[in-house]
Amino acid sequence: MGGYSGQELTAIFVMQGFSGLSLFCVFLLMALGLAIIFGQMGVINMAHGEFLTLGAYITWLISELASTSPWLQQVYFPFAIVAAFAGAFLLGYIVERVMISRLYHRPLDTLLATWGLGLILQQIYRSTFGPREVSVGMPDWLMGSWAVNDMIDIPLNGLFVMAVTLIMTVGVVSMMYRSRWGIKLRATTQNRLMANAAGINTKRVDRFTFALGCGIAGVAGAAFTTIASTGPTTGSLYIVDTFLVVVFGGAASLLGTVVSAFGIAQSQSILEFFLSGSMAKVITLLVVVGILMFRPQGLFASKVRR
């Protein structure tokens, strides 16, 4: 890195740090929903990405409606996020009721069934919205960058995704550890029979938990329209990384998900800077595989009895 001034290097250091942080937020936001569904319930939901896509399309639909008035265009986004959550939550609820609830003790069948569901949803999006990607009209306050000084530009959409991630994470953590539903969920996860015996309607807990995880995926989809593409297969861009983060973190641990998202995002971002994109991915995956060989239960294993 010879030939660059100290000021330049500082600026790059700051922006590179930010870029790592925003990748962390992307990973965390998409992994949150899966951490609940896969981590707490043990359901391998291969259609998770398609719930994300649903959120993205709902955002797009609302942005199209809002594009009629410049004023609406500026304010629609928070409402789009709420709608994306509601839409994905609803679909998740129906899917749990119709499909997942019949497959709880058959994890491999769930894998296949949700994979099929994912394909069906993708094709439904393709037939409804067309195979081409759509462009979500962004309000002005989400476009461009915040110029801290001459050299440092912080992307506004990155800041926005960070804020959404923070709110969602705090929300999920407080729900899990500070609410009645959280107690019921943790009781169900730890010992379903005992939870049942204690009068917890575990079926209802399952249904709500699955729908909530899907709803969070919908929020992620809405937030990601600001930084990436919206198309029928958008969700599949994220699904592999999402599972990676959750598995690496330790399936049943929210803290593990956070730490693993941070670790993977930072190592990938730093390696990308010093090596190239493909090599960064290769090395990150090798490290993850290496660590999982020694700690098959992931970084943070919590003791779970099923």
Binding site: E64, R132, E133, S135, G137, S145, S229, P232, G277, S278
Partner: protein, 414 residues
């Protein structure tokens, strides 16, 4: 861009009668009576006194549907226009459409079905190089004829394929020459998605920059297909300040790349970027405001002002909806049926050997991109254009080269 009106649903569009006699085409079609079936078809193709069957083989489902839809629309439009003019050798063209489903073995299987069961006289199809490589052995074994529309990496030539898009030297060299002169560029940064086409294109670009333009490549790197985070790459570009970034990022990654560039405060005034992977189709997803001011290097833009193109755009929109956009590959796909018709008429036969032999030197004065001519290596002579994107999703053509000879096996660039 954000027009809320949507395309008419497919079933409705099909109800619209289509008889678009535009100014395209050659001299009036000869009647079938002048060309008895036993003479024009001696190898058992699906030709009778009234009709001739052809195949369309693209992905309607799966990840590639995003790109291939435009090609299907263009090929159907061309075939409908040819039929409205009386068909080929007095026979109406009948289309058998198969779905490659974004899956390369499926492409091979469907092409075998089209050639051996349906006995089609020609196939218009494929989009990715992977799908073309999968069907090539089938076309060579069954002696079929494929019209392939996509700009691609070159290094291929077959009697059984007519390449209507540009090969890599046609798409890269003239554009690099222009940008080097226009921006007085000395340093280049090459980025792409990690697969054969960007790598081959960049290999050619690098040789040209280093050996011909006397410039320097200060970075070359690839990101996995589907990568959605370009923060680190953008920081590197910001630090190294190349005169030109030369980009061939595709698919969903493409949208993330342009959106994040804009969000990082990079502007076309501060950073020149030339891409070889963005057509009007991609801009739909990227958003015109995110790419305005940057350049695309390819042979066709929807905004071309010649009469052929205006008629084509008008007909395309009348057939497929006012909101349709037409990208480089869509136009190249449109050429396929017309080039086939011209070759069949020149050969006086539907037989694949005769048509393939007659294809060399076929000229098309009516092509939307302007004049094209088939080279004996089965690629097209074509021009290279530089388009500068505008916020409305259309490009302004700022440079147009002379006709460039196709050279799929360029010496000194391997």
């Amino acid at each position: 861009m954000h027009d809320s009106t949507r395309k008419t649903p497919a079933w409705k569009r099909h109800l619209l009668a289509v008889a678009l006699g535009t100014g395209l085409g050659f001299a009036g079609a000869a009647g079938a009576a002048d060309h008895p079936t036993e003479k024009v078809s001696t190898t058992g193709l699906a030709v009778n006194d009234d009709t001739v069957k052809v195949g369309i083989l693209h992905s309607i489902t799966g990840t590639m549907a995003i790109s291939e839809t435009g090609s299907v629309e263009a090929e159907k439009l061309a075939i409908e226009q040819i039929n409205a003019m009386g068909g080929v050798l007095g026979r109406k063209i009948e289309v058998i459409q198969e779905d490659g489903a974004s899956d390369w073995p499926t492409f091979a299987e469907k092409s075998r079905k089209l050639l051996t069961q349906d006995k089609v006289a020609a196939v218009f199809g494929c989009w990715t190089s992977a799908s073309r490589k999968a069907v090539l052995p089938v076309f060579e074994k069954e002696n079929g004829l494929l019209y392939y529309p996509t700009f691609y990496e070159g290094l291929e030539q077959s009697k059984n394929v007519i390449y209507t898009g540009q090969e890599a030297t046609q798409q890269n060299l003239a554009g690099l020459d222009w940008i080097a002169k226009e921006k007085d560029a000395k340093t280049y940064y090459l980025v792409g998605s990690d697969y054969i086409w960007p790598r081959t294109s960049n290999k050619i670009a690098r040789k040209h920059i280093e050996n011909v333009l006397g410039g320097e490549v200060i970075g070359e790197e690839y990101y996995p297909l589907g990568n959605t985070n370009f923060g680190s790459l953008i920081n590197k570009i910001r630090l190294k300040k190349p005169d030109v970034v030369y980009a061939s990022i595709v698919g969903g990654s493409n949208v993330a790349w342009w959106k994040q560039l804009k969000a990082a405060g990079i502007t076309p005034e501060r950073q020149t970027i030339v891409t070889i992977s963005v057509t009007e189709d991609e801009v739909l997803g990227i958003g015109g405001e995110n790419i305005a001011g940057y350049y695309s290097s390819m042979k066709y833009f929807q905004s071309l002002e010649n009469d052929n193109n205006q008629a084509f755009v008008k007909a395309f929109k009348a057939r497929w909806g006012e909101d349709s956009v037409i990208g480089d590959v869509t136009q190249a796909a449109y050429l396929g049926p017309w080039l086939w018709k011209a070759a069949v008429e020149k050969a006086g036969s539907f037989d694949v050997d005769a048509v393939a032999a007659a294809s060399a030197d076929i000229e098309l004065e009516t092509a939307p991109e302007g004049y094209v001519k088939v080279h004996e290596n089965h690629h097209l002579w074509s021009k290279l254009r530089m388009g500068q994107w505008k916020a409305d999703g259309q490009a302004e053509v700022v440079y147009e080269s002379e006709l460039i000879e196709p050279n799929p096996f360029p010496e000194g660039y391997q």
